[in-house]
Amino acid sequence: MTYDDYLDGKPAVITAALTGGVHGKEAHPDLPETPEEIAAAAAACEEAGASVLHLHARRDNGERAFSTERFQEVADAVREATDDAVLQHSTGGTAAPDALRHEPLRTDPAPEMASLDMGPLNRYERLTSENTRGLVASLHAEMRERGIKPELEVFNDGHLNESLAILDDLDDPPYLNFLFGGGTTSPPHPRNLINRVEALPEGVEFNVIGFGTHQLPMTTQSLLLGGHVRVGLEDNRYYERGELATNEQLVARAARIAEEVGRPVATPEETRELLGLRGR
């Protein structure tokens, strides 16, 4: 990945993270939680320019669900509501036991992509998501077996070490996701993203997430550096200070910026070609 990719007008993949597993309607009254709500948000985001839909599942009371059955309900509803978007299931960001972490991979059909946390991260004051090497390896093995492209979640530089160490085990092109914010994520500063990009071997594709107020500047910088972007209510509830956003607003803004800086927005077909996905 080089600056030439940007100058060459390389398509930019926009991922929409619709709901997440941390906050719910107590934090944003329109945050989608039910399969129907998630599907409606997915359709709006696909229309606005998202080619990848990052999915979580929730219980009826809004709490996070990992079961294959609930993910199947969500995935079925999203496929029904969308035309051609890529589905990406979350397996991470939690202290849930290892066995549960595999369940989102077992829908029929399997998702084309899934997240793969590359190491420990802290939540709140005392909660740590451990993500041992053993768990990372077992999740990756099942993804490979089922034809699922892993998105390696790089919350900090240590996770970059872990990612670079397994590059040879990944199908081309390796796809790394850099997260910026507080806690155990990387400090959101432009030089930190530049350092990351410079550390990547040729042929690696990268995506950027900025949490909260960092979503807009960090994703904009990614577009300038030839990377891809993830936006949505999972990572950022606000369109601007004090104004709650919708998922499609955040996607539409990312699409506008991409086009303005010379990066055409990738269609689902172009995304599959760029990332080496198996197809819907």
Binding site: H23, T94, A95, A96, L127
Partner: protein, 73 residues
């Protein structure tokens, strides 16, 4: 270990909000709880409120000055 935090209830209204399906409500903070925090409150995934929840306090702790059990936190 209790499966449910004793300070967590499920309510359809409170904290100035209402929901069609009852959601986790923390009686310590008097507010609705984020879904991930509810996982901790419910002691799911082998999490223990006493060690994993930042709001937890021991309801059996004796107090000598008439304050609530969390008065010394």
């Amino acid at each position: 270990m209790d499966e449910t935090c004793q300070h967590l209830t499920y309510r359809e209204e409170g904290d100035g909000k209402s929901f069609e399906t009852a959601r986790a409500f923390c009686a310590v903070t008097e507010s609705f709880v984020q879904p991930m925090r509810a996982d901790v409150c419910n002691a799911r995934y082998d999490l223990d409120p006493a060690t994993d929840c930042e709001f937890y306090f021991d309801p059996d702790a004796e107090t000598t000055d008439g304050t609530d059990a969390d008065g010394d936190r």
